[in-house]
């Protein structure tokens, strides 16, 4: 028996995907032209699947700050914070994040994935219980597993279900941590955070909110869903990423818990990984300043989100959640989703293809993420190409059924 035998089914499914066209999970951009455009197979493509919400990846000031950091601090740190030292820029960025979020401290990680691993597995241990939303991101599930805590899932976005499960736990002795996301990456739906806060307060447990997709996007100051709901004081731990609105690579955890920094010498994903590169740190520091100094970026992002939402809705597409910078279009079948994804690329539009089991409720999705850098003309073009892709699918479907 081969070690790879267990992947036979999933490999066969992947082969079927390849037979239908390009590999949606391994698309190669030959050249990145701007925050919203790339060349793929020699074709100009509008990027509507990059989570580059504020479009800051080509901001001249941020590029300059990043280049300067490489000149002064080098290309890599070549080691971990605990064994090989912290750069003053790591510490400065942590202070900037903490100040921005109004928290006592922040810890920086090399990726958003590792931030969830490090914070969750650091906070919870085998005697504790984590209650997590059932639609949580893989990094949350993996962090939970690494913690060794008892893991209880509650129904997606259901404070009532969380309440019921906390009640069932009763006077269980261990610590209890509730985990939700600000907005959920696949559908773009929001957590009813005020209601979750009410439940967590009544049960006297702690709350962690992953603001990966909501930081820089929600709240008057871009601090995320907790700011938008006015409940920041009730959120005990914030996790976020640099790889979306902040246009870099990395992640962070932040808290005002006076014991929070004990995680620096107890959390294995923090201790035993290379520290963030000077370039990533410098980019995140520069883009964080932009989030604060350029609130118009958020307005542009939301204008674009509304324009695409309305445009696709007017064309009769089914959109999974209320307007947000993530717009997930539900397709009736995997075949339709894969065909349309290929037709969109062919027409010059890149979106994300999302299939079960990576999606809630077995949905097949074409997931768009907007950017402040998209122009109204680009958004119109995206709608036109969606319409054309659907026509192409209908024609293809008709020839298929005629052949049968």
């Amino acid at each position: 028996m081969s070690l790879f035998d267990k992947y036979d089914q999933v490999a066969a499914r992947h082969d079927r995907l390849l037979a239908a066209g390009r590999d949606p999970f391994n698309i190669c951009m030959d050249r990145i032209v701007s925050a919203t455009e790339a060349i793929i197979d020699g074709r100009d493509v509008i990027l509507v699947g990059t989570n580059n919400y504020l479009g800051l990846t080509f901001d001249p000031d941020c590029i300059e700050a990043t280049v300067e950091a490489i000149r002064h601090e080098g290309t890599g740190t070549t080691g971990s914070r605990i064994a090989n030292g912290t750069y003053s820029s790591h510490r400065a960025l942590e202070q900037e994040i903490a100040a921005f979020l109004g928290r006592k401290a922040a810890m920086v990680f090399p990726t958003g994935y590792q931030a969830n691993l490090g914070i969750i597995a650091g906070l919870a241990g085998p005697k504790d219980t984590i209650l997590l939303d059932s639609d949580s991101h893989a990094s949350i599930y993996d962090g939970c597993r690494l913690s060794g805590a008892t893991l209880i899932r509650f129904r997606h976005n259901s404070p009532a279900d969380l309440d019921k499960r906390l009640t069932r736990l009763g006077d269980d002795k261990g610590g209890k941590l509730v985990i939700v996301e600000g907005i959920y990456s696949m559908l773009g739906d929001q957590a009813p955070l005020d209601e979750f806060v009410d439940v967590k307060r009544r049960h006297g447990v702690e709350l962690l909110v992953d603001e990966a997709h909501s930081l820089g996007v929600f709240g008057d100051n871009g601090r995320g869903i907790a700011e938008a709901y006015g409940v920041e004081d009730e959120v005990d731990y914030v996790v976020g990423t640099f790889s979306k609105s902040l246009g870099a690579v990395g992640g962070f955890g932040a808290s005002s818990n006076p014991e929070f920094e004990q995680l620096r010498f107890t959390s294995r994903p923090y201790m035993f990984t290379a520290s963030s590169s000077p370039s990533s740190v410098a980019t995140a520091s520069a883009t964080l300043k932009k989030i604060q100094s350029q609130p118009q970026l958020r307005r542009q992002l939301w204008d674009n989100a509304r324009a695409l939402y309305d445009g696709l809705k007017d064309l009769g597409f089914e959109i999974c959640a209320a307007t947000s910078p993530i717009i997930a279009v539900r397709l009736p079948s995997e075949e339709a989703a894969v065909f349309m994804w290929n037709a969109l690329i062919q027409g010059g539009v890149y979106v994300n293809l999302a299939l079960p089991p990576g999606t809630p409720d077995g949905s097949c999705l074409l997931r768009c993420s907007l950017s402040a850098a998209h122009t109204p003309a680009q958004v119109r073009k995206v709608c036109e190409v969606f319409d054309a892709a659907r026509r192409a699918y209908k024609e293809w479907e008709a020839t298929q059924s005629a052949a049968e």
């Binding site: 059932s134 939970c144 597993r145 008892t150 893991l151 209880i152 899932r153 129904r155 499960r165 069932r168 736990l169 079960p356 089991p357 809630p360 077995g362």
Partner: protein, 83 residues
């Protein structure tokens, strides 16, 4: 109510019907993956239905040992006896 192996099985068979579109006969040995083609997400959704029906929590760590219908019955009885 005192839950017995048979009663729990009967309830789970009912909850399994939506996951059994081909209507195969459900026995204690019915394998969720091999016989009912349930993926990990479908299995997790089924577990939530079972949790609601029996008013229990089934921690995720118990799921790797759940392969067939009898395993589900055993988990429910074990969690019920804890409550």
């Amino acid at each position: 109510m005192q839950w017995t192996d048979d009663k729990v099985q009967e309830e789970i068979v009912t909850l399994l019907q939506p996951f059994n579109p081909k209507g195969i006969e459900l026995t204690p040995e019915t394998d969720l993956s091999a016989d009912l083609y349930m993926d990990s997400v479908a299995a997790m959704n089924l577990v939530m239905e079972i949790e609601d029906r029996f008013d229990i929590d089934i921690p995720i760590s118990l799921l790797p040992d759940v392969n067939n219908l009898q395993d589900l019955v055993d988990v429910v009885l074990a969690q019920k006896s804890k409550g």
